[in-house]
């Protein structure tokens, strides 16, 4: 795993470790690949946001760069017609299910969705798809953090952060379109043992988990 190798991303030669995930090898060399659910030190990435597609020479179809380990001599390109199309559709789907109120959102200008839109020239408004509003109540019960499930992109970073740095009270529940981040038995954050560390808010790539001032 610790063997040094050379790969090429978008024509740029990059030195990295064998097996290092391509997403992070690229990000470390200043090449941006859209992503929401991946965390640098996660060895079993959930690969659920489906935005970090890249093309690798010799591969039949685009693959998620958060799951693909680098190997000597790999030639990778972060853009292609197929990749752009997948990212555009995936992003539009996420946007269609994300409550857009950027101006009043605490994460305005530090939001991953805004960054992806900017990097890839995508709109923060679904063009082909209808909005899928879930109109779930905002959980404002805790002292230090607030949770707006209508902005959640279900990346799971808060769950992980809470488990590692906080009280470990967050998890997923329900299935399919109803999948949500929740606490045990769906209790409000304020009554579920939240210790107010706000690790979830720092981890959240969008404005769903936010730290209260």
């Amino acid at each position: 795993m610790s063997e040094k190798i050379t790969i090429t991303i978008d024509g740029k030669t990059i030195e990295t470790m064998a097996g290092h995930k391509i997403l992070w090898a690229a990000m470390d060399s200043g090449i941006y690949i859209p992503h929401l659910c991946s965390a640098r030190d996660n060895h079993s990435p959930s690969a659920s946001c489906r935005l970090c597609f890249v093309e690798i020479e010799g591969y039949a179809r685009p693959v998620t760069s958060c799951t693909e380990g680098a190997a000597e001599g790999m030639v990778i390109s972060t853009r292609s017609q197929r990749v752009d199309r997948l990212v555009r559709t995936g992003f539009e789907m996420i946007i269609s299910n994300h409550r857009i109120e950027c101006r009043s959102c605490p994460r305005n200008r530090s939001c991953s969705l805004q960054q992806i839109a900017k990097e890839r020239g995508l709109k923060l408004k679904p063009a082909r798809l209808e909005k899928l509003n879930r109109n779930l109540p905002v959980d404002d019960s805790a002292q230090k953090v607030a949770h707006d499930p209508n902005k959640c992109v279900l990346c799971g970073l808060c769950v992980r952060a809470c488990k590692e740095k906080g009280a470990g009270i967050l998890g997923f529940s329900h299935r399919g379109f109803d999948r949500v981040i929740t606490t045990f038995l769906g209790a409000p954050l304020g009554e579920s043992g939240c210790d107010g560390c706000a690790a979830c808010a720092s981890a959240c790539p969008v404005g769903s988990m936010t730290a209260k001032q």
């Binding site: 959930s46 685009p62 299935r175 379109f177």
Partner: protein, 637 residues
């Protein structure tokens, strides 16, 4: 592991102990009642009771046993009567009355009541055998051969028909030889994807980790597919034998049945089979007296469709939510508890004992070069004879539908067949004469999948069928990845608006675009195949989509929002009030000539009047689009 030449000897010792019982059973009168779930749903338990009661009342020397399903589910409840001096005769469509009558007339008076007979089990002069029907010329039963004939809860029956010889044969080879034999047989996974089974075993067998697992995937969940259930309920020992061979080949000493809890009878019968096999020394510390040991356990799944996906299945067995994960690593490398794991479908494992016993060449003599062997299909939908069938791969759809299924019910016309469940596709009549295997089906836009076949006739709207299957996958999506969670939701929304007459001109293109991206972008097989029903119906029935969108018309008169009920004045009998009485919302009234008229404002389109109108009048019709009623009224005036 050393080669175990003595496995056959041990098996023969076990068999010689039971052979006598089986022979004596056949020498006197024997009634076998099909009591798998399909039979029970049709009333087999009552029929069974009736036979038993009548026999004990008349104090006859006859035994009545429960067996599984032989695939003729349409004729359930069924029973076979073996009476000395007669061939075994199979009776169908039984009820308690017919059952008592058979005992009286046949067993007491010697009249075999041929009017209730479906077929005989052996050649004779007066009743045709199963093989004499067109169905018999298409079917080639190996896996299903003993289903519906032997007692699934009695290992002696299985042993008497040659059971566990495949395991004995496998144990006389080295695991590598077994893998080589299965590889050269070309057996492909019958769960849907069609991955070569031998390769899967080899990958697991080569893993450096010695603790390995083998899992039988019995999480059958496709709407319209029920062959795994039937196999487990009708001949569980065959699957146990296949699983044991897989474990031996892959070097596992622990195996599991993953059965959904909605199949309680299958769970019960497999549990009994495992218990009996262990008692006989076929499972446990020393399998058939060799140094191979195997323990098999049952794990009951909670019925999530996605848990049929192997990584989700493993997650649920480990006590985590049943969500798929990214592959690789594949389970054969890192599966249950991180150990190398082989996961095979019930049907795949059921083929294995025949391969080790009869050899790969024998297996290759059936089917097509790319997909050898037989396949089991579940026939459902608008067929005369629904049920299960086992045919060589490469049989044409028309032979399955017309020869096995006896054609379309109610003298209707064939329109399409949905193959492979919600992950499969709808194929039109143009494909009927294509020999079907894994590859031709995929090329045609469907897939082998679990082998479910839902036959559709002219009354089925293809947009509605696509919506139905997508509704299923959308509800069963675990919600982990973006494309499946949101993509199927969006596609379903578009299909819903089309069936409601609110479709937009661009909707077909949008559906196809989304379908392509969902297939390419989803994390697991559920999402990757979910758009198939939509894509295949657009491919073959685009005109129906266009009629819905452009003309607000449902050509099959199925979509409630696009039809209206209308009573043809010249056909209405006037003095008959059947429709009026049937209407739950009092929408039907009589005009001055006593002709019945439907108040369209009130009508809830429940279909009751159409059913109630006596067949000699057939005055109630459906029209589409709904404003067709106005035009018809004008014409009549």
């Amino acid at each position: 592991m050393s080669e175990n030449k003595n496995a056959s000897v041990t098996l023969n010792t076990i068999r010689s102990r039971v052979a006598g019982d089986w022979e004596s059973l056949k020498q006197k009168t024997l009634i076998t009642v099909g009591s798998a779930t399909c039979g029970r749903a049709a009333g087999a338990v009552e029929v069974l009771e009736s036979f038993r009661k009548e026999i004990s009342r008349l104090q006859l020397d006859a035994s009545v046993i429960e067996v599984g399903c032989m695939g003729h589910c349409y004729a359930e409840p069924m029973a076979v009567i073996y009476h000395p001096g007669f061939p075994g005769i199979c009776y169908g469509y039984l009820d308690q009355g017919v059952a008592s009558r058979l005992v009286q007339d046949f067993l007491v008076e010697g009249d075999p009541c041929v009017e209730f007979a479906l077929a005989a089990t052996g050649p004779n002069d007066y009743i045709p055998t199963f093989e004499d029907f067109p169905r018999g010329t298409v079917e080639q039963k190996h896996v299903m051969k003993h289903c519906g004939f032997i007692d699934p809860e009695n290992i002696d029956h299985y042993l008497a028909v040659g059971g566990y010889q495949g395991l004995a044969a496998a144990l006389s080879m080295s695991p590598d030889q077994v893998i080589a034999e299965v590889k050269s047989s070309g057996l492909r996974g019958r769960g849907g994807a069609g991955f070569p089974t031998g390769n899967k075993w080899e990958l697991c067998g080569k893993a450096p980790e010695k603790t390995r697992y083998v899992i039988c995937n019995a999480d059958e969940g496709d709407p319209g597919a029920f062959m795994d259930r039937t196999l487990l309920e009708s001949n569980p020992h065959l699957v146990v034998e296949g699983l044991a061979i897989a474990a031996y080949a892959a070097g596992a000493s622990k195996a599991y049945f993953y059965i959904r809890a909605e199949y309680p009878l299958a769970v019960k019968r497999v549990a009994k089979a495992l218990e009996q096999a262990a008692q006989c020394g076929i499972l446990g510390q020393s399998v058939l007296g060799t140094d191979f040991s195997l323990e098999i356990e049952i794990f009951q799944g909670s019925g999530a469709f996605v848990c049929g996906e192997e990584t989700a299945l493993i997650a649920s067995m480990e006590g985590r939510p049943g969500l798929p994960r990214h592959r690789p690593p594949f389970p054969s490398e890192s599966g249950l508890n991180g150990k190398p794991t082989v996961i095979d479908n019930v049907k795949t494992l059921s083929h294995v004992p025949f391969i080790t016993q009869k050899g790969s060449q024998w297996f290759r003599s059936m089917g097509t070069p790319g997909s050898p062997g037989t396949a089991i299909f579940a026939l459902a939908g608008k067929l005369v004879n629904t049920g299960l069938t086992e045919v060589p791969i490469g049989t044409t759809l028309s032979r399955i539908i017309y020869d096995v299924g006896s054609g379309i019910a109610g003298n209707q016309t064939f329109k399409a067949v949905q193959i492979g469940g919600p992950s499969g596709g709808c194929l039109p009549k143009e494909v009927l004469d294509t020999p079907i295997d894994y590859d031709t089906l995929t090329r045609a836009g469907a897939m082998m999948g679990s082998g479910g076949m839902v036959v559709l006739d002219e009354h089925d709207c293809m947009v509605e069928i696509a919506r139905f299957f997508l509704d299923f996958t959308q509800k069963e999506s675990c919600g982990k990845c973006t494309f499946c969670r949101l993509g199927t939701k969006h596609m379903l929304g578009i299909l819903e608006r089309i069936t409601k007459g609110q479709g937009k001109p661009d909707d077909i293109d949008l559906l196809l675009e989304l379908a392509e991206d969902i297939k390419a972008g989803s994390l697991c097989g559920l999402g990757k195949t979910a758009p198939n029903p939509v894509v295949s119906t657009i491919k073959y029935f685009r005109h129906e989509y266009e009629a819905h969108i452009n003309e607000k018309r449902c050509p099959s008169l199925m979509c409630k929002d696009l039809i209206a009920y209308y009573i043809l004045p010249h056909k209405c009998e006037r003095s008959c009030d059947a429709c009026v009485g049937s209407c739950p919302v009092e929408a039907i009234y009589s005009d001055e000539d006593r002709i019945k008229v439907i108040n369209q404002e009130k009508c809830v389109k429940c279909d009751s009047c159409m059913v109630a109108c006596p067949p000699q009048y057939k005055a109630v019709v459906k029209v589409s689009p709904p404003d067709e009623v106005v035009r018809k009224e004008k014409v009549e005036q």
